[in-house]
């Protein structure tokens, strides 16, 4: 088979994606490298085929943008009608997701707060929370330090009074 020439035809689907698809379709089958390469190139050919046909259909419909309907018609006329039901399922999922997103966005818009602003507010809240936590942690640490110091002092004066027994009386006077 002749190889395609020209820079545009060097553009292909990434080999890894093709390998993955082949592996999923034909698990446990050895596929030669030149066969894989051929599949990659066939993909490109297929895309050209579909887009040319869809483009023609688009032109005839006097629309400027190739639409999903054009692609579906192209599949039909090129003999890939068996793909259509699955392809239509994907289209349906697409529309459902898009619809959900539009609804979500309009709900947000109804709050009067655009998404970026909400994000900013969220970041602010996080920063504040972090700061509060940091302050709390510092306080705790200071308290621990103080407690430790007091403990040290207490221990020190206890041992001091043990050692200096003669000054005990004076200290007793100070005690209330």
């Amino acid at each position: 088979m002749a190889s395609s020439s020209g820079n545009d035809d060097d553009l292909t689907i990434p080999r890894a994606a093709i390998n993955k698809m082949i592996k999923e379709t034909l698990p446990n089958v050895r596929v030669a490298n030149d066969a894989r390469e051929l599949v990659v190139n066939c993909c490109t050919e297929f895309i050209h085929l579909i887009s040319s046909e869809a483009n023609e259909i688009c032109n005839k419909s006097e629309k400027k943008t190739i639409s999903p309907e054009h692609v579906i018609q192209a599949l039909e006329s090129l003999g890939f009608g068996s793909y259509i039901s699955e392809v239509k399922e994907v289209l349906q999922e697409c529309k459902t997701v898009a619809l959900k997103r539009r609804k979500a966005n309009s709900r947000l818009e109804n709050l009067g707060i655009p998404e970026e602003e909400l994000l900013r507010q969220q970041q602010e809240l996080f920063a504040k929370a972090r700061q509060q936590q940091a302050e709390l942690a510092q306080q705790e640490w200071l308290q621990m330090q103080q407690a430790a110091q007091q403990a040290q002092l207490a221990a020190a004066s206890a041992s001091a009074s043990n050692q200096a027994g003669s000054s005990q009386d004076e200290e007793d006077d100070d005690d209330i």
Binding site: I22, T25, L26, A35, E45, I66, L91
Partner: protein, 93 residues
């Protein structure tokens, strides 16, 4: 533009197709006569291409000589291109 696999907010296609949409768009537009492509149409083309690969591989394997050895060869594929009407457009590849 991110690949289809990690696609973001366009039709949620990261679930739908595993081929990179940006690459497919570039391939389509490399034909000068091709006008602009609607995003959903792009997703459909990607899906059709996936089905095509699956079909090509499966068909070639089933009709090919490598079935006993559990192998798919170049020849299996090229035979498919020549013999199957649907795949005849591949004959020059």
């Amino acid at each position: 533009m991110a690949d289809g696999v990690v696609g973001r907010d366009k039709c949620g296609e990261q679930r739908l197709v595993s081929l990179p949409l940006s690459r497919i768009r570039v391939i389509m537009k490399s034909s000068p006569e091709v006008s602009s492509i609607n995003q959903e149409a792009l997703v459909l083309t990607a899906k059709a291409t996936e089905l095509f690969v699956q079909y090509l591989a499966t068909y070639s394997y089933r009709h090919g000589n490598g079935k006993e050895k559990k192998a798919l060869t170049y020849n299996d594929l090229s035979n498919t291109a020549e013999e199957s009407e649907t795949f005849q457009f591949l004959a020059g590849t």
